[in-house]
Symmetry: C2
Subunit: 192 residues, 2 copies
């Protein structure tokens, strides 16, 4: 049933992300994805076993697209190992994630949809936990200051900072957000 055309599949999954962000999880139908990806009606149903399959792949694709590029990774590898550098890296991280606005909003829609769909909840739980563990492992190997608890606390604080920025951007000013990132790193890392 499932056709092998990776480029078209990617276009459909990217279309699903846009539909999720714009119309919410309930707006995500095969028909809406076909329209978004500008392919003939009926295409999406040939690529995905069912709606859960499409939702799951959309989530995985957001994580894939949020990975830093080679240049960024190299820059991180050669950066200083002090707290100022760490704060700068976190500001960059917030900026990079926020700039994929529809991707992050789609993830929030998927989280809410997961409260209604146990199968989706299982897949997302594994994905998020693996991502958190990878962040902790990467951090501990990096030589940057701060322990595993610091990484988890930053994960919590920065995620809600991004939610705030993307859903109600005027609650905090851009300057306030920058100061909060710097303060989060300073306090959470200093005490570890």
């Amino acid at each position: 049933m499932v056709r092998r055309n990776d480029q078209r599949r990617a276009a459909l999954v990217d279309g699903a992300i846009e539909v999720l962000a714009r119309d919410g999880a309930r707006g995500l139908t095969f028909r809406a994805v076909d329209a978004e990806a500008a392919v003939p009606a009926g295409t999406a149903s040939n690529y995905f076993a069912n709606r859960d399959d499409l939702l799951t792949q959309a989530g995985a694709r957001v994580y894939e697209r949020l990975q830093p590029d080679e240049a960024t990774v190299t820059r991180h590898r050669t950066a200083e190992r002090d707290r100022e550098t760490y704060a700068e890296l976190m500001r960059e991280l917030v900026a990079r994630v926020s700039s994929f606005r529809t991707g992050y909003l789609a993830l929030l829609e998927l989280r809410l949809e997961a409260t209604r769909r146990p199968e989706l909840r299982t897949v997302l739980t594994e994905r998020v936990r693996a991502d958190l563990d990878a962040n902790v492992a990467y951090h501990l190997a990096s030589g940057l200051p701060g322990d595993a608890t610091a990484v988890k606390l930053l994960y919590l604080a920065l995620n809600w900072l991004i939610v705030e920025q993307l859903t109600l951007p005027d609650v905090l000013t851009p300057q306030e957000r920058d100061e909060l990132v710097a303060a989060a790193v300073d306090r959470i890392v200093a005490a570890s």
Copy 2:
């Protein structure tokens, strides 16, 4: 147009919260709210000027229902002013907010809907900012340790902790969540 029956209005707004949490923002129709509140079809349309009015009132009602009761406020007023007490109060706060599961999920749905509805965004922005400022003012007057930045950082970290618990409850274990609350207060407050 708008009838004066406060009890029925409250029942309709509470019904809207349940519909938002269960079916998402796109599932929130006057008809669905009538059914949820078990009132005759057409009732909600007599109480609310339009859908934005209903969404706004649902958001305000969640905040209202999240307020601590008299006993809790009194207990806070007479509690010790040390960091251990602060951590205990924050654990209680997380438990209280999480226990109104549908209310918190409804707020997340409203935030996502606000990305599509500028009027809702304006109202929610004012509400959230007023709430944050009130938390800061309350805290500074309370004599508890920690500055305004500490309150804001805890607001960020604890909100995402609640998102995690309510949408993907198995990403963090209950023990891990408790430890993160304690560590958040310890580190963020200690450094202020």
